[in-house]
Amino acid sequence: MKANESVLVIGGGIAGMQASLDLANRGSKVYLVEKTPSIGGRMAQLDKTFPTMDCSICILAPKMIECLRHPNITLLTYSELQSVKGSAGNFRVEVLKKPRFIDENKCTGCGECAQYCPTEVPNEFDMNLGIRKAIYIPFPQAVPLKYTIDEENCIKCRLCQKICKAGAVDFDQKPETVNLKVGAIIVATGFELFDAGRIREYGYGKYRDVLTSLEFERLLSASGPIGGHLLRLSDGCVPRRIAFIQCVGSRSLKGGVQFCSSSCCVYATKEAILVREHHPECEVYIFYNELKVFGKGFQDFVKRAQNEWGVKYIRALPGEVVEDPKTHSLIIWYEDTKENMTKNTEIDLVVLCPALVPRIANKELAGILGLELDKYGFFKPRDVLYTPVDTNVPGIFICGYCQGPKDIPESVAQASGAAARAAEVIALSSSGGVR
């Protein structure tokens, strides 16, 4: 296949995967670069998805495996983009493959090694709530199912090497630079979480039972740190009252970001329903200022949460979360803005919904690719109206959350869009000349 008929996709989340699959299925060669050891991205961390309450990993896993098995897709996991030269139709790309210290061809993913590895490390995939070993796969459904030794934490006891029957462990592995020629590039780097600790009055990092929503997703998840049995981390008790707080760092002109993350109101609703599903006796409150229910089926979803699941919505951004000096239970102070009464209520577990922000690393990436970022750090579309997935550089396209806040279906649709634009470039360049 001609070089200019292949495409580089940066980011192995749902957007990156969708773009890759679309292109691969239409016969283009795709190089999918992911900086962590497994593709799957944020969606893999979620327990369920709104509004259908589909089990997230269940609908995602088939796609991940499709990416793995697809003859037209080359997965470059645990790898990062280093440099890009050339122009649309003819990019020359350098990708750095970080050493896994595991021979991917030999590793069967049996996991023996991890059982014996003596070093325990907080698992990033579980938002550091759970632990993994220094030799690890981030999560059970990881793709590829190949183990990775993280250099930082490995104590080089080489126990794994002795254990591994496949003889896959290779401590001499070196970083390796992969050179690629591609016709187009698609960027889908997703998002990261605003540091909820910066909104000090909510006591994140200070109180054990104040969590972020993504940490909460991991708690709910069957493959998560506590096997999906929703409990308080402080004392292992079943929480009797749970509160979700919206707009932690979002929609703010001070101390946060100005934009709205566009999905928190609904995913909080989802998580609230899941709580009721786990513990029907547990009371759930969602503190919000404005309910963003603009998406297809969102309003009905929220109604269902209210009427069928008994989730209580309180229109207020709480002033503070304080610990009762005596009982040590958490107390939320808020003004119920429907009654204009300032009240407080005792809560066992507080879930903060932090702003979903563009990745810091976008700056660096933008530098390598020569892309423009907007004032928030999202990649900037060439024309916000008519070419939402194009960038200032012809042949480089953007999709998913890194282009601006959106939910999964929007990311998926847009990923296909980016694929289509990439396909145009390929078509045009193989028929000579790009616009």
């Binding site: 200022n289 002033g319 304080v322």
Partner: protein, 528 residues
């Protein structure tokens, strides 16, 4: 021709007033300078009456009551005697001299004594010469309040309010008083109901503690908005809501008079090393006055300036002091008296220059904020470095130049005064200094630093059952830490808390008798 002295007399109905009548009945003559105000008992005479009388130009004030033991109300006159002593001290401090105030026991049968007292007093006042103070005209409110408010709105980001309720969910007052909600004031201003904003009590209820400002995601700076509105607000209401009958502010206004020479250095201990001029000036603030006004609280407030000077001397600084230092004007600024605030600011700056100071250290958070921030804003150019004593000392701690002699093992909890903390962002210096004192363990309240709550009252406005709740709440929180000692850098915090002891019915002493200490005093105690 010499101006005739004006005497205001407060006479009790049963003795002194009757005595005055008798003087007339008996056709005993006395100078016409006196203007008599009848009160039921000399105990009713509030120091504020007297201060106000002097502020508005009275040359002398006479208080007449029954002889001890004959008070129609048993002990009203003794109460009066105590107050008059206290008031005399204030008059001494402000430089008018205690002599202008006179307390006399005159029974219903002593018409002669009354005439004699008036005659003597008139003579003495003639000798003393006239009271330099003159009645001042009331300040005019701006004409176009609508426009003024919309400007304030823009200046303080009020238009960005999203009605999320975070302010009222944070405000210590809203928590105890549903009638008050910052965002309601905001919404009224935005929808063009200015009149109701200006006429209501809300403007005066705000503690200006900046807790809402700290947290508001839309960066609405409500307290500053309130401050901008107060000059347009109803003055009558303001007077009505002002605690301690406005004495502190009256005194501040008096200081503005050029002829006033305060006698405020009495606190200065033997052998303290100070100077009239110098690079570093110690701005004392109104503590000498508070010491008198709040005498009953036994807070030993004078220890504060004494400690500061001691500390400064210990670290080899010989501060310059102003013998006629004016109030920084904080309360005026925050209660809408911009005109007088500006005057005070100008005078102080002039004095700073005269003293050739470049650096000004203060132990009072209000003075600190006012000098460092507001002077600069009002006067435009203000080229002095302003330091809080804790900043100065923590620098020394860093340099290892702060030496303590006497350590003592105490669990200490530190309260962040709004002005020093959220207003100026000084959180760590006091803590650093405290923890550097040998043996002292620093505890934190659940709500500390940015999240600390106000002591309960600000600028002596709206001291009421709600502010009482707030104060008790803070004291309870401090107690709950199990600390032996509650330390603050703001004398007013101590005053407002200790004021709770005067509450009727009495409050559980468990709460209010928590031992308190000013930051500087604590530090000084650890030095020889």
């Amino acid at each position: 021709m010499v101006a005739e002295p004006k005497i205001v007399a407060f006479l009790c109905n049963w003795c002194a007033y009757a005595g005055a009548d008798l003087a007339g009945v008996s056709r005993i003559g006395y100078p016409p300078n006196i203007r008599v105000i009848r009160v039921m008992c000399s105990g009713r005479v509030d120091p504020a009456f007297i201060i106000r009388a002097f502020e508005t130009g009275a040359d002398g004030v006479l208080v007449g009551g029954c002889h001890p033991g004959t008070c129609h109300y048993v002990s009203g006159n003794l109460e009066a005697e105590k107050r008059m002593e206290n008031t005399k001290k204030l008059l001494k401090l402000i430089g008018l001299g205690p002599e202008r105030l006179r307390l006399e026991w005159i029974s219903a049968s002593e018409g002669g004594k009354f005439a004699q007292v008036v005659t003597e007093f008139t003579e003495e006042l003639r000798k003393m010469g006239p009271n330099p103070l003159k009645a001042k005209a009331k300040m005019e409110a701006p004409i176009n309040t609508k426009q003024a408010i919309s400007e304030a709105v823009k200046k303080t980001n009020v238009q960005y309010c999203l009605e999320c309720g975070k302010c009222s969910g944070s405000c210590p007052i809203s928590k105890v008083n549903d009638a008050f909600s910052p965002r309601r004031v905001v919404e009224r201003s935005l929808l063009g109901f200015e009149e109701r904003v200006l006429s209501g009590t809300d403007l005066w209820t705000c503690l200006t503690c900046f807790l809402c400002t700290e947290r508001c995601p839309s960066d609405v700076r409500f307290p500053e908005f309130v401050r901008a509105c107060r000059p347009m607000a109803s003055v009558e209401l303001k007077e009505e809501l002002c605690a301690h009958r406005g004495i502190p502010m009256a005194l501040s206004r008096m200081m503005l008079n050029p002829k006033i020479k305060q006698d405020r250095m009495g606190w200065l201990p033997e052998g303290a090393e100070i100077s009239k001029r110098g690079d570093m000036l110690y701005f004392v603030g109104c503590i000498p006055y508070f010491d008198v006004i709040f005498e009953d609280f036994n807070l030993e407030l004078l220890k504060i300036p004494q400690s500061v000077v001691k500390i400064l001397n210990n670290v080899g600084i010989k501060p310059a002091l102003l013998s006629n230092e004016k109030c920084c004007g904080h309360d005026m600024l925050w209660t809408g008296d911009l005109e007088n605030f500006e005057k005070l600011a100008k005078k102080n700056v002039a004095d700073f220059k005269r003293a050739r100071a470049t650096r000004i250290v203060t132990a009072c958070p209000e003075c600190y904020r006012t000098l460092k921030k507001d002077y600069a804003e009002v006067l435009g150019n203000f080229d002095f470095e302003v330091l809080h004593i804790s900043e100065l000392l923590s620098e020394l701690v860093d340099k290892g130049e702060l030496k303590f002699d006497a350590g003592f093992s105490k669990k200490v909890v530190y309260h962040d005064p709004c002005r020093l903390g959220r207003h100026m962002g000084v959180y760590e210096p006091p803590r650093k200094v405290i923890t550097s004192i040998p043996g002292v363990g620093l505890l934190e309240m659940g709500r500390n630093r940015e999240n600390a709550i106000c002591c309960g009252v600000s600028s002596f406005m709206s001291c009421n059952k709600y502010s009482k709740e707030v104060r008790m709440d803070r004291l309870r929180e401090a107690k709950a830490t199990g600390a032996d000692l509650l330390v603050t850098t703001c004398p007013k915090c101590q005053i407002h808390w200790r004021c709770l002891t005067t509450e009727k019915p009495p409050i559980d002493p468990e709460i209010v008798t928590m031992e308190m200490r000013d930051f500087s005093v604590l530090v000084a105690e650890a030095m020889r």
